[in-house]
Every structure is written in structure tokens, then in C-alpha cells.
Symmetry: C2
Subunit: 476 residues, 2 copies
């Protein structure tokens, strides 16, 4: 027991020497010694002590807990193992990247451009909505029939392109996805457009301003309704200029006076533009080089229903798929949307929030895609709440709607209705419940990451597999 | 510009509502809102504002910097990708683990146990050293001839087993490594033993105590030289009991009175014992299942000098190799040494320090293997410094010695002298210089990890390749 008493004494003796004894790497050594003095064999100490009564760092008895080195270890391991994967891929398949092939994804027959035509036609719906609103503003159209017209218009926006895609053969899946995406965005924008204008009319009516006088925007400017910043107010906003600014603006929620950035920052714009082009190339490259071969290799196991191999393929696919998703996120939500916003001097650049820290699935869905989230909240969730629906019901409805659009964007272009995307989205509800119920903090965060990394490739494989079976197996 | 002024005002308006609006995932949402209020479309706000002038989180303009989610991402990615690797391995090779094969690594011919014999013979050297010391203590042997005898004894410890290994054919590489390791440890221990006793005699002479009286340990106990804790003092320590306690103690530095732990902690001992057995199995399993096939696959690329494949193999080998090294570290330095120490009630459990945080290569070498580092410092580095050598010279000498022993433990058992291990150790000096010169903090730490993860498999592949070429290519 005397040893225990002895240990601290010896430590105190050594400390001064510890710092002084210049060890090879002075900088770190000095620090190291202050903490734990070097065993010292100098004949000065009583019978040449060089051991002390102490515990190993990793045994719980020593209250040690500094493992910041581990993060660096993780990063190094990740970089190295993925470097290997990529090298292996190059060796196995050679270079598969070719930009020409990309064009063929959009064009099957170089003399018919169905996707482009559809996008051009889309303008009709926008103008229809604008004119309906104009008629409504002047009061030459009743609210009732206005709502009917808008509803018809909006439904057509969704159905028409879908039918065309299903009918026309010269349209490629990729081209179809692009077209349908454009129409979906248009749908959401016009839905918001009609809502906001309706709210304006309601307020005007509440203020008791007669409908017909509304046309004279000069009068409007005069009255106190105009915000201090001096933007347009209700009927004055129903112009082509205003409409098209909204259609191209990187948002889905209409508002009469968007916040505008004071000037176009040249350097910022150029940097984003460069990113936009670079990451687009990278995405195409990664998909051609990494995704496609991996998916093709995973067809056989699927046919044979060889489960261990299916899982192996799934995990193998998860890495490139996740990487591509991350790059896509940055490319679209940061680079591209910022470029558009900068060019249009659109002020609100909040296209995403810190979803990477999300500890619940709900938090992720509320923060990774702000334009859509904003729209759902403003034009779907809150109206339902106002109508006295329960929160969970409303949230489920939102997920249902989003599930519908996911399915719409995948099934129609592939011309097969499998509901994988739909189920994938709906699966989020029980998942969200489970995570928020049982997992906290970092575990919750890890669970969210896990669901992202594993969830997507499952859906992807499902569709690709079915697509192959339909279009290639059939022919053999 | 009015917008800029407007933004903060609007924010202030929204904040209170933000918190109150019960969103689906209440817990996180509340926090989220306080930080960035939800865009609000309630007709209360002047013409239905739902956008604010603001930057994207990832653009430098927004001073955002909370990426703690990334660590979780790293961990998840690592777990998943290695799970895949392991599954792939199982599918490819099936289960290769078999414990019987392990025995064959130690025994070639079941009727001759050369390794064991050598280990038994090792006692002779220990006793020789003890008796020399006894003679020196009583003064019946001159310091001069004592030094000569010790030197001969120590040299024999290194040369004899090496010669036997090279001569006897029935000895397996693994057995040989084991034997040579035992002898190396003995060498270091006896070196320390002779040094400490020499220091004791020097001090006694300085105090002017006549040599022959030293024999009577009773007298010694009486004099003030004895530490308060009442341990033995100089010549009384030269007993078989004392000697063998030192030989089995988990340290290389001799000392007359080792710090002793008060009692054997049963639970601690059992936990460490379990770890010891479990990790040993795991190590064997991983080597058989993961290392061996990977190495065998990497022989062909080496023969063909196909560089891209060599690198691919190297990186593929790096992961299991590193994992095994980490497990080995824990198994040996934490579990095993703690078991021995607990059984012998050896007090000083500092077998390693926080090398995982090391930001310079030197710091790593000074902290991952404390018994050896202690020995080098006490019996090699400091004496050289005392003799007035420069710090860098001394450090280089230490690396040289360590390089020699690394080579000794590898080349002799494999019966081929390639100097890979030697060069590997010597390469640490420029590396250490480079890292400490150019890399700081986390970069230094990452560099150390990198050198560990990449450096080892290179050396391993070099030896294995040469061994294969020698023993298998030759026969074909």
C-alpha cells in the first residue's frame, strides 16, 4: 500500500524534468510529459524506480476519454476503401464514360422531340391560369366557376403529359421524367398562384374594395394596402412579366413581391456555374462508370433469388448510389438553384436546411427540400389544419401526396406501375414513428443516414429489375 | 435595398409564432424553428410573404458550420461497406476458419518440438546472468570481466536461437517467430537487469560501502539506503524468486522494488481473460478468412508486375490488415499484458498511451508500445545522451536498433534476408521529419493513420511475395 502513497510523490519529482528533457519531437513531447511523466532511470531516484502504480488507458478505472483521433481514422479509412473500389471498377470495366450516349437518353428519334414540344405546350396552362385570374380580379368571373376552371386546368397539367408519354413511343424514359418533372413543378406553382390570388381577393373583399375598381392599379398604389417597400399589390400583379418571373424563380410558393437581391454577384455566379457544369459531368460519369455495371451485375442474383448475393449487391450499389445522391443534392439545390436565383436576383436562397444533422426522419423530410416543404406547409398542411384536421392525419396526407408524385414521376416514364416508390414514401411514416420513438441524438441521426443509404438502392433495384424483366427478358 | 432592411423585421415578427406552431415532429421542430422561422403564409402577413432575403447554408456568406452529422455518416458508411466486403468474402470463399490448421503452424513434425526446447534452454541465459551478478555483488569478479561475461551471454541469447532456427528444418516460421520473440524479450530484460545492478554497485561504491559486506543483506536492510516502503535493496535482490518475477513481469525495465497492486481483482481478471481468448480466436479467424485469400490473390499481379492491380490489391489488403493490427494491439497490450500483470499483482499497467491521437510519427512510436519505449529511453537513448551524443543521432540509433530487431524477427524465421522490415523502420525517420515539418493537428494525425494503414501491408506483401517465389515458384 505504501506504493500508492509513493506514486504521486515520484510524479511530482519528475514533472519539472519531464518538460525539460528535450525529446525528439519537442512540441508534442512537452505536452505528453506534463500529462504523464516519462519513467526516469537517472541514478538520482531511490533504487532506480521507473514504474508507477497506474491503470491502462482503455480500462474503465482510468477516466480517459479522448478519442478525437478516431474521426480522422474514419475519414482515412473511407477515402482509402473507396479509392480501392473505384480502381477495382476501372480495372474491371475500363472507362465507360461517354457523353454522346447521354444525348441518346433524351432522343430516340432525332426528328421528333416530344419532350421539348410538351414543355413548350406547358405555357398554355400557365397563360390559362393567368387569364382566369385576370377575369376573377375584374369580377367578370364568379369565384365558383373560377375554382372549376383552375381545377380543370391543374388536372390537365398532370394528366395530359402523362397520357402523351404513355401514348408516344419515340419518347425516352429520361426525356419523359424531365417533362413530367417540369409539369409537376408547373402544377405546384400554379396551385400556389391561384391560392395567393384567392387570399388577396378575400382580403380585398374584407376591406370592402369593389371588384371592378381593382383593375386600376394606379388607385391601388395610392391606398395604404401597399407595403412600405413599394411593391405591386393585388390586381397589379396579374401581368405576363410577373407570371413568368414566378415561373422561372427557384420557388414553388407564389408571392406578390419576392425579396430581391440588390445586384448580381459576378464571382458568385461564375463559381456556381462552374460547379453546376462540373458536377453534372461528374454525375453522368459516375452513373455510367459505377452505377450501370453494378446494377447490371445484380440482375442475375435477382433472377436466381440468391438472397446473400442480393444483399451483397444491394450494399455494393448503396455506396455509388448514395454518393451520386449527395452530389445531385449539391448540384441541384446549391449550385443550380443558386445560379437561377442569382441571375433573376431572387433573394431567398434557403433551398435546404441542415438535414445532415437530422435526428428524426420527419426533420429530414422537412429540411432537405425547402421549396417543396414550403409549398406543402403553405398550401396543403396548414389549410388542412385550418379545416380542423388532426396533425398526424394532415402529415400522413402530405406524405401520401408526395408519395403520389414520386410514383407519378417514376411509373409513367417507365410505363409500368409497381408502386415501389409509393410504398417507399409511405414506409417513411412507420420509420419516422419508430426513429422518433426509440432513437435519440446520434443514434437517431445514424438511423436517418442508414435509411437514406439503404432505402434508395432498394427502390432503384426494384424498378430496374422489373424494367429489365419487362423489356429485355421478354425479348429473349 | 429596402428588402434588406425588411428581412430582419419580418424575422422578428415570425419568431414567436415559429415556436408555437406545433409541427409534426415537435421535439426537433421547436429547435429548428427558433433558429430559422418557418415561412409563414397566414393571411395576417402583408401580402402573404413567405420568402426572406437569405443565403444558402453551404455558401460561405452564411457563417454556418455545424456538420456533426458527418461523423455519424462516416461511421455508417464504414460499417456498411465493410459488412459488404465480409459478405462478399464469405460468398466467394465460404468459411475458411479451422482451428486445427493453427496447430500445424507451430508443429511440422509432431515428435520434435524445437521451439519449446529453445524456450526452455533460454532459462540457462537468465541463470547465467543472475550468477554473474551474484559474483559481481560479492566482488569476487571484476567489473571488467563481468561486463565481458554479460556481453557474451547477451550475444549468445540473440545468436544461438537464430542459428538453431536456420539449421533445424522441423521448425515452422510461426514457431520460429515465437521463439525469437521470447529470446529478444529475454535479451532486453537481462540487458536492463545488468544495467540496474551496475548502477546499484556504482552508488554503493560512491557511498563507500565495501563490496564483500554487500553479501549480508541483513546489514543492508539496516542502513538508510532502504526506501521507506521497506523493499529489498541492492544485493538482496539477486535471488531466483526476484529474477523470475522480473522475467515474467510485463515490463522490460528491471527495478528492485516493482510497484505492486494491493490485490487480484477477480472480475477484472476474468473480463481480461475472456477478451484474451475471444480476440485470439477472432484474430485467427480473420487471418484465415480474410488475409490469406487476399494475399494469395495478390501473388499473380505481383508476378505480372501489373501496377494498377498491385495497388488495388494493396488497398484491398490494407483494410483487413489494419483491422487485425488493431485487434492485435488490444489483445496483446490491453488484455494479455493486463492478465499477466493482474496475476502477478504488477502495479504499473501503462503498456500504451494515447497513440491514436498522435499528430507526429515520433509521438506514435513513443506511445504505442510503452514497455519497449521505456527500455529504449532508459537503457539506450539516455546513456547515449549522457555520453554527449546529439539528440537526432541518438534517436536515429534507437530507430536503427528497433529496425534491426524487426528484421531479426522476420528474416530469420522466413530464412530469407530482404531488409524490407529494416527499410520500413528506417523509412520512419524521413517520414517523421516530413510530418512534423509540414503537417499539423488533424492533418498530422491523418498522416500517421495513413502511414499505419498503408505502410504495413506493403511490407507484408513484400515478404509474402518473396516467400512464395522462393518456396512455391521454385518447386514448379
Amino acid at each position: 500500500m505504501a506504493e500508492r502513497g509513493g506514486a504521486p510523490r515520484r510524479r511530482r519529482q519528475e514533472e519539472p524534468r519531464g518538460g525539460g528533457r528535450g525529446e525528439p519531437s519537442q512540441s508534442r513531447r512537452g505536452a505528453g510529459d506534463a500529462a504523464q511523466p516519462e519513467p526516469d532511470g537517472a541514478p538520482a531516484t531511490p533504487d532506480f524506480r521507473c514504474h508507477r502504480l497506474q491503470d491502462s488507458l482503455l480500462s474503465s478505472a482510468s477516466g480517459y476519454s479522448n478519442y478525437r483521433g478516431i474521426l480522422n481514422w474514419c475519414v482515412v479509412m473511407l477515402v482509402l476503401s473507396n479509392a480501392r473500389l473505384f480502381l477495382e471498377n476501372l480495372i474491371k470495366y475500363g472507362i465507360l464514360v461517354d457523353p454522346i450516349q447521354v444525348i441518346s437518353l433524351f432522343l430516340k428519334d432525332p426528328y421528333s422531340w416530344p419532350s421539348l414540344c410538351l414543355v413548350i405546350v406547358a405555357n398554355v396552362f400557365a397563360l390559362a391560369a393567368l387569364h382566369t385570374e385576370k377575369r376573377l380580379a375584374t369580377g367578370s368571373l364568379s369565384e365558383r366557376s373560377g375554382t372549376v376552371l383552375h381545377t380543370i386546368n391543374l388536372l390537365t397539367i398532370l394528366c395530359f403529359p402523362a397520357l402523351v408519354v404513355l401514348a408516344v413511343n419515340s419518347i425516352t424514359p429520361v426525356g419523359a421524367v424531365f417533362t413530367l418533372a417540369v409539369h409537376t413543378i408547373l402544377f405546384l406553382k400554379l396551385f400556389s398562384f391561384k391560392d395567393v390570388n384567392k387570399w388577396c381577393r378575400e382580403r380585398r373583399r374584407a376591406k370592402g374594395v369593389p371588384a371592378h375598381s381593382g383593375a386600376a392599379s394606379g388607385l391601388q398604389r395610392a391606398n395604404g394596402d401597399v407595403p412600405p417597400s413599394g411593391g405591386v399589390s393585388y390586381p397589379a400583379n396579374l401581368t405576363y412579366r410577373d407570371m413568368y418571373y414566378f415561373l422561372f424563380a427557384p420557388t414553388l410558393c407564389y408571392e406578390l413581391n419576392f425579396p430581391r437581391s440588390p445586384r448580381i454577384r459576378k464571382r458568385f455566379l461564375l463559381r456556381r456555374l462552374f460547379e453546376m457544369l462540373f458536377f453534372l459531368q461528374l454525375l453522368v460519369g459516375l452513373i455510367q462508370q459505377w452505377m450501370v455495371p453494378t446494377i447490371q451485375n445484380s440482375m442475375k442474383p435477382f433472377r436466381d433469388m440468391d438472397y446473400s448475393r442480393i444483399i451483397e449487391r444491394l450494399l455494393k450499389l448503396a455506396v455509388p448510389n448514395h454518393l451520386i445522391w449527395l452530389i445531385f443534392f449539391y448540384w441541384f439545390f446549391h449550385s443550380s438553384l443558386n445560379v437561377i436565383a442569382e441571375v433573376m436576383q431572387f433573394g431567398d436562397r434557403e433551398f435546404y436546411r441542415d438535414w445532415w444533422n437530422s435526428e428524426t426522419v420527419t426533420y429530414f423530410w422537412q429540411n432537405w427540400n425547402i421549396p417543396v416543404h414550403k409549398w406543402c406547409l403553405r398550401h396543403f398542411y396548414k389549410p388542412m389544419i385550418k379545416r380542423g384536421m388532426g396533425k398526424w392525419t394532415a402529415q400522413t396526407a402530405v406524405f401520401l401526396a408526395s408519395a403520389f408524385f414520386h410514383e407519378y414521376l417514376v411509373s409513367v416514364p417507365l410505363k409500368m406501375f409497381r408502386l415501389w416508390a409509393f410504398m417507399g414514401m409511405m414506409a417513411q411514416i412507420p420509420l419516422a414513428w419508430f426513429v422518433s420513438r426509440f432513437l435519440r441524438g446520434n443514434y437517431g441521426n445514424a438511423a436517418v443516414w442508414m435509411s437514406l443509404i439503404i432505402g434508395q438502392p432498394i427502390a432503384v433495384l426494384m424498378y430496374v429489375h422489373d424494367y429489365y424483366v419487362l423489356n429485355y427478358e421478354g425479348r429473349q
